[in-house]
Symmetry: C2
Subunit: 443 residues, 2 copies
Amino acid sequence: MSTNKQDEKIKLVKDLLKSLKEVGDVAELKKKFKDVIASVSPSEIVAIEQQLVREGVAITDILKLCDLHVELFKEYLQPRVLEGVPEGHPLDLLMRENIYILKVSESLSLYASTLKMVEDVEQMRKYLDGLVGMLRELRNVRLHYRKIQMLIFPYLERRGITTVPRVLWGREDRALTMLRQTLELVERLGSSESLDVGRVGEVATKAVELAKEFSELVFRENKILFPATWALFSEGEWVAISEIADEIGWLVDVGERRWRPNAKPVLPYELEVRISDSDIGKLPPEFRTTALAGGLEPDTYKIASEGDLNLGTGFLSPEEVKAVFRSLPLEITYANLDDRVKFFSESSIFKGFVRTKTIIGRKVEYCHPPRLEAFVMQNVKSVKNGEAPYKEYWTRIGGKIVRVLIAPVKGEDGKLLGVLEVVEDMTEIINKAEEIKKKIVVL
Amino acid sequence: MSTNKQDEKIKLVKDLLKSLKEVGDVAELKKKFKDVIASVSPSEIVAIEQQLVREGVAITDILKLCDLHVELFKEYLQPRVLEGVPEGHPLDLLMRENIYILKVSESLSLYASTLKMVEDVEQMRKYLDGLVGMLRELRNVRLHYRKIQMLIFPYLERRGITTVPRVLWGREDRALTMLRQTLELVERLGSSESLDVGRVGEVATKAVELAKEFSELVFRENKILFPATWALFSEGEWVAISEIADEIGWLVDVGERRWRPNAKPVLPYELEVRISDSDIGKLPPEFRTTALAGGLEPDTYKIASEGDLNLGTGFLSPEEVKAVFRSLPLEITYANLDDRVKFFSESSIFKGFVRTKTIIGRKVEYCHPPRLEAFVMQNVKSVKNGEAPYKEYWTRIGGKIVRVLIAPVKGEDGKLLGVLEVVEDMTEIINKAEEIKKKIVVL
């Protein structure tokens, strides 16, 4: 970019900022300065912003520019094939989340590059604070990638498209790991009274990289992943994605939903679909190349066997129900609303109180010595009444330190079904708490 | 007892002891000295034993006398109605356990009363050691009462006999609580270098009481409880009791079983039985009075509902299975042998890793970023191979310290069915280990 041309652009941007301060309404400015902003390419924006900082323009004003810039960028962000995505559709919301991610990334980048320029320690602190604020805000984006990884990818995998999700998850993971490391670096900065300028520079460099990583992810999703899913997924799949995504939560305000699907939710395991040639034609070229490399053999695995219970969150055969209870590190005794023992489990990892099949159907009050009857029944009663979400007490069994929980058992509608006693050996954890703290790894 | 008569008896007992040393075979002596021993009443035995100690007879020799005494006492211990109980029948074994309990109690009593007599500190220590040994041995008797409380009582309760079990359990509990307290008293003795004579006396007094309590229980069971159960319980009930009692374990060597029942095991909840008038006639009078006071309304409660799963250790409806998993303080994810996610649970007490219905049927390796794929699959593999009973690691979720277990899931036949991930929040326990230690109560 020639200096002349850049000077010209800087002047234009300054005018824009001035108007932004006066007008305040981004939509109106968008119309007015459309050509100006559109002429500033992503690669130029950082240089111009830095120049503005050098000239003394307040960084908060420049951040407004970011908003505007991203707003105008939308057209590029949202490829034409996705224009038909209705408001409130999961793809619409995911793309809106990407705008949020892009804004935070741009702000982060601006703070970081400014931080690299300044030498005054006071100013350094100021920009560092801004940078850290953006890093912290970026942590929220895990919510976005969780939806991609857990809701979008499984439907691709089911179609035999496994490389694209693995590669993308790898990049997302790299970006999020880098974010964590940068925040750890910041943590170490904060603990010392005087700023270590070298370290600050390191943080700034990391932050610039990080911003680039996330922008890159935004573009990959919007230009490649989302168009592919839009071409491939059925309405029922989007309904399932939408329902679960709402439970996970969104980074953006969902607002009014224009999308009114009629299909029933379809989960990946219910899907048996081979990608047709015409579908392949609709895929973005980058996606097509990677996806087809895997051979596109659809996954037709049947997860439920005959006789399995459908438990809502999966399937278990009666044998598996029994076996799963045996594999738990705790033992339970369940009494129904009539205070009758209806079920107990025995763990192969830990032996708690002895219970025998002869207590099935027994009144709970008769399961303890008379001395403890009132205590036990009071606990049961207060849990049944909802006076306590659960009761906890600590005792010993043999040489072991054991936690006993008394918890209510409720149906999906919240209706009380009974009361559960949960007994778990915590000896090792209690006695080796400090050692365990040292064993913690963040994976 | 006149002094003359007592002197005579003491002489006889001394002769007996001498012979015991020479002959060694209790059975033979039993024949020879039957009349001598039978003439010594339970109330005289303590006085005679103390006299022997005073005269310098070694306490170990006197303990042999206890054995012999109990042996001869058997006839009194085992009422005529129980003569037909076959060897190896649960009642036979329970009565043999009672002989064991009686022997330990008598020895305890002997040590305690001797301890009260001696003044020499060295001797005191010696008898105290003997006493403590017996107290420790007495702790084993919990195994006996557990079988009474969990295997015998439920069948009585089902018949509407509830007072007898409650009263007996109350006494058993009192004796065992007293035992615990006495042992705690002893613990405090041991910590000081010089013996606190007053405290030793206190322990001795407690020990005498304790021995009396347990002897009392033995007689109540043998004379009242056991004859009643023998009159009332069907073979199928005894089969169930026998099977489970074998799992709990016995205080005595079971030896060869002469008892060969043909009936199928019958559990209390399967029982619907009203005590007939002719049955009532067969009950020991003491039992009859207490039992009839309750009105004898049989318990006909049906524990299983239609559609319930029979899980071996009780019944759960599919709704209850789901609800119980929600009430656990942990969350699980289960993958089958094909490494496919088949089920996950969500706890209402603790939220761990986010899992969604879209992962049902998903390959386990695709549930994590590529960076962790090898780590996860290595854990799964080593658990499947049986290289480790389970794998444990510690990590963070948000601000929480979380334990992750990877455990094999096995059928009753030991066949591997799949692998379980168990995620549990241990933050409070790790951070408040010392406080929790103070909260422990032995109930």
